[in-house]
């Protein structure tokens, strides 16, 4: 960073918009590592929340589920649910591992995305409401995906209420 210490570079780069920071990844290898560093990313996020910067208004389309800075979209085929999360500010998306459905018949999926501050992890929750075979009863399949562990976990506990929305 030539003669400027890391701490000073942090002070200069923290208030910059995401678009500028992404461009500055090309300055040098050191700046690339610095800007991509998870600690700097967290600091930048905190700063932009506090100063209301880098916010985007994105119209809700029928298959998109907006949550804060990311979106998840489902591309459901008959047996496999495919979900991707998208960060519109850096224009990158990440496809989550496909999960086969554990229920038969058609289901209506609901999605939620959020940050788990306790584990510093981002999670996607899917709740699929489906009707049990040959009965008018409804049941739910709940799965949670952790970005850290990169896998889905089925939640076996009973949902507290059968009527719920995300």
């Amino acid at each position: 960073m030539s003669c400027l210490q890391l701490e000073l570079i942090t002070k200069i780069l923290s208030p910059l918009p995401v678009k500028s920071l992404v461009r500055l990844l090309s300055v040098s290898k050191q700046w690339y590592s610095f800007i991509k560093d998870p600690d700097f990313v967290k600091l930048h996020l905190k700063h932009s929340i506090e100063t209301n910067k880098d916010q985007a208004v994105i119209p809700k389309e029928h298959d998109f589920y907006p949550t804060d800075r990311y979106f998840s979209r489902s591309l459901s085929s008959t047996r496999i649910m495919e979900i991707a999360i998208w960060n519109p500010l850096i224009r990158k998306y990440k496809k989550l591992p496909s999960e086969p459905r554990d229920y038969s018949g058609s289901g209506r999926p609901n999605f939620a995305f959020g940050h788990d501050p306790h584990n510093d992890d981002y999670k996607v929750v899917t709740i699929v409401e489906f009707s049990k075979e040959d009965t008018p009863l409804l049941d739910f399949e709940v799965k949670v995906h952790s970005l850290r562990s990169r896998c889905w976990k089925k939640i076996k506990e009973e949902l507290p209420m059968k009527e719920c929305s995300i």
């Binding site: 400027l4 002070k11 200069i12 910059l16 500028s20 461009r23 090309s26 050191q30």
Partner: protein, 126 residues
Amino acid sequence: MKFCTVKQYFDDENNNNVTNGIATTVIPLPNKHLKIKANNKEMEQYEQELLRNVMPQELTKLILAANYLNFKEALDFFCRTVANAIQNKSVDYVRKFFGLESDFEPGEEEKLCKEFAWSFEGVDED
């Protein structure tokens, strides 16, 4: 507290951290801050006036001086000014500003430019 480092600065006979020119710009700031405490707009105008005669590249020296002299308000102001100055500038401009050189392998930088082509749109001309 603000003036401990200043005293040290004047006591040090050979001080390479802060040249005289820089000192004359940075040192009056705390007094001015005290005088215009609650009035942000007046302070902003004073700060703009101050920087009118300062070349952008001098700002890195001002930052180092303010950091060394432990002037938080001055440091915050100079860093904010640099951030605004480089926000919409090209990668080359920023390199020259901080005296940096690219150390990417041939092809690596092009790959990044291609991957993030959208971030290079609308950039100020050098």
